[in-house]
């Protein structure tokens, strides 16, 4: 954890509220990510996840504090940090190829048409959209649009990917396929990824670290949960891992109960040193009943799957 590729240092976001008062969405938020790490943020709606992501992207400026990426404080957006938008945000008057090529030609201004096209085509192929290059976004399904968004983000070979609930609007099957693809691509290209999600299983499958945020306003980063699952994991085998349920229950427990009361119950919470939770490592474990950590998987018992 010494290598801090991304470091959010004491940022706050305030909006002017009614009657001259200010609403603080969050303040004194500290968070760091190592190079090549996949991090997921989970928290209730309205706690400020998108705000954090926008600040990381440079689309929004924090009211206080700074964000350091690769040793430099960021000011504004950068081609090094690609964003995959929740609403895919494709330009509807451009084709699939046109949308990806727009990003490519924005990064490499001097490239000629053919080179831009060839480069864009590689990434369209990568997300499995070969054959749909000349379709317009209105002719694509939700999953295909999201793939174009992914291809566009990857095509500029960023150092980091920022994803705001990229799969929340998709059906389970498409979501599963795209999760596989994003995971494969991020591992292959060594991306550092920051993803917001509401889906606990998605976070468990994709993340190396899971950030848990409490409810807003005045949200805090309560815990950083380390994913105990091996890096080499398959979506279908997740629930067979002995620590899967412990991890899942810990997160759900947080969302259901502790996210509301965390701030009141933990007065000595230090936002600069957010507790790092290692599920299943005795001594470092916090919360979530200890019998679950010793639980081993037996065929036929699938507690919690329907939760």
């Amino acid at each position: 954890m010494t290598d801090k590729f991304v470091s959010i240092e004491g940022i706050a976001k305030r909006y002017p509220g009614a009657g001259g008062a200010t609403t603080t969405i969050f303040e004194n938020l500290w968070l760091s990510m190592a190079r090549g790490e996949f991090c997921c943020v989970i928290g209730h709606s309205g706690c400020g996840k998108t705000t954090v992501l926008n600040i990381l992207a440079g689309l929004d400026a924090p009211s206080e504090g700074a964000v350091i990426v690769d040793g430099q404080a960021i000011s504004g957006t950068s081609l090094d940090r690609a964003v995959i938008f929740q609403s895919h945000a494709l330009l509807p008057w451009r084709t699939v190829l046109g949308n990806v090529a727009y990003a490519v030609s924005s990064k490499w201004r001097s490239w000629d048409r053919a080179k831009v096209k060839a480069h864009a085509q590689t990434f369209i192929d990568l997300v499995g959209l070969t054959g749909s290059e000349y379709k317009r976004p209105s002719e694509l399904s939700g999953g295909m649009k999201q793939r174009v968004g992914i291809a566009r983000a990857l095509s500029i070979t960023p150092k980091m990917m920022l994803m705001d609930e990229p799969f929340s609007a998709l059906d389970a099957l498409t979501r599963g396929t795209l999760q596989d693809e994003v995971r494969r691509i991020c591992l292959e290209t060594g991306q550092t990824a920051f993803m917001i999600t509401h889906d606990v299983d998605e976070a468990i499958y994709l993340a190396d670290k899971i950030f848990l945020m409490t409810n807003g306003p005045g949200a805090v980063l309560a815990e950083v949960v380390e994913n105990p699952l091996p890096r080499d994991r398959a979506r279908t085998d997740l629930h067979r891992h002995p620590l899967y349920y412990a991890l899942r229950n810990h997160i759900i427990d947080f969302l259901v109960a502790r996210s509301k009361t965390f701030v009141a119950e933990t007065p000595d919470h230090d936002p600069r040193n957010v507790p790092l939770v290692h599920i299943g490592k005795p001594g470092l474990t916090i919360a979530s009943g200890s019998e679950e950590q010793r639980q081993t998987w037996t065929p036929g018992t699938n507690p919690g799957l329907s939760a």
Binding site: L59, A82, L91, Y102, K107, R136
Partner: protein
């Protein structure tokens, strides 16, 4: 289903037209000749008196006269007798010039105002006051300062077509979806390139809608403006024929004004369709 609907609508249209022409014909046809009348009086009054003919021309008169005009649209027998084609060409040229000048001013200005909240707020009171002024109210001022009636008419067209385009451009530019702007921002696209690659295509349908409203207004105004400034143009033609008491020519001019207006609107509608994107 759809094609049968179109067919039936077409049939109804034709029936309505036939009914209209029929009623028009019946209402204006000659009644029995009035017998007792001094020959001098009859000569003076023409067919109106001798055959009980209505002063209003019937569809057949208009059709015959229209055919005359269509056979030789571009003759020129001096200032008060020119072919309808020439008169329409003058009007279209004036509308075209004033309209194009308005496009050249309204769209860049609208872009600036739409992209800058400061300019938008600062210029708003001026636009609000200038917009409701009838374009013809500018005419004396234009005639006084420009001292050329033809250029004054162009100025009036310019001033009346600028507002819908300006307001629509401002609105279209200001309401480009935030996420598209954010895409350009995350790609570090510069302001100029962003204006042309994101804002312009996104706002184009709204801008074209404004242009379409403008061309309609410009065509409405040119007739009135030409009645005032005189000399040439379809508006002047209408006024001149009214002074000649040639209602037939007035009706023909009205018909042509309608058709040209429709064509101008259709051209802009086609452009609008070209830049509209499905979402």
């Amino acid at each position: 289903m759809n094609s049968s609907l179109r067919l039936r609508a077409g049939l109804v249209s034709i029936a309505l037209l036939a009914a209209f022409l029929g009623i028009w014909h019946l209402a204006t046809r000659s009644t029995a000749p009035v017998t007792t009348m001094s020959p001098e009086y009859a000569k003076l009054m023409g067919l109106t008196a001798t055959q009980g003919k209505s002063a209003m021309p019937g569809p057949l008169d208009v059709g015959a006269k229209l055919w005359d005009h269509l056979k030789r649209p571009f003759y020129d027998n001096g200032p008060n007798d020119k072919g309808l084609g020439i008169q329409l060409a003058y009007s279209i040229a004036r509308v075209g010039t004033g309209y194009l000048l308005a496009v050249l001013v309204a769209i860049p200005l609208g872009f600036l105002i739409g992209m800058s909240p400061l300019l938008s707020k600062a210029l708003d009171p001026f636009i609000q006051v200038l917009k409701p002024i009838s374009p013809l109210a500018w005419m004396p001022l234009a005639l006084y300062t420009i001292k050329d009636s033809s250029v004054s008419a162009i100025f009036v067209i310019f001033i009346c077509s600028i507002w819908p385009m300006l307001l629509n451009t401002v609105f279209g530019v200001a309401s480009v979806r935030k996420e598209w702007i954010n895409v350009a921002r995350t790609l570090e696209v510069g302001t100029i390139r962003r204006a042309f690659t994101v804002i312009l295509p996104a706002a184009a349908p709204t801008i074209l809608t404004g242009m379409r409203i403008s061309i309609g207004i410009a065509w409405l105004v040119i007739v009135a403006a030409e009645m005032l400034v005189g000399g040439t143009g379809i508006g002047y033609f209408v006024w001149n024929e009214w002074n000649n008491l040639s209602i037939t020519n007035v009706i023909i001019a009205i018909l042509l004004i309608g058709i040209v207006g429709m064509l101008l609107d259709q051209i802009l509608a086609r452009f609008t369709r070209m830049v509209t994107f499905p979402e």
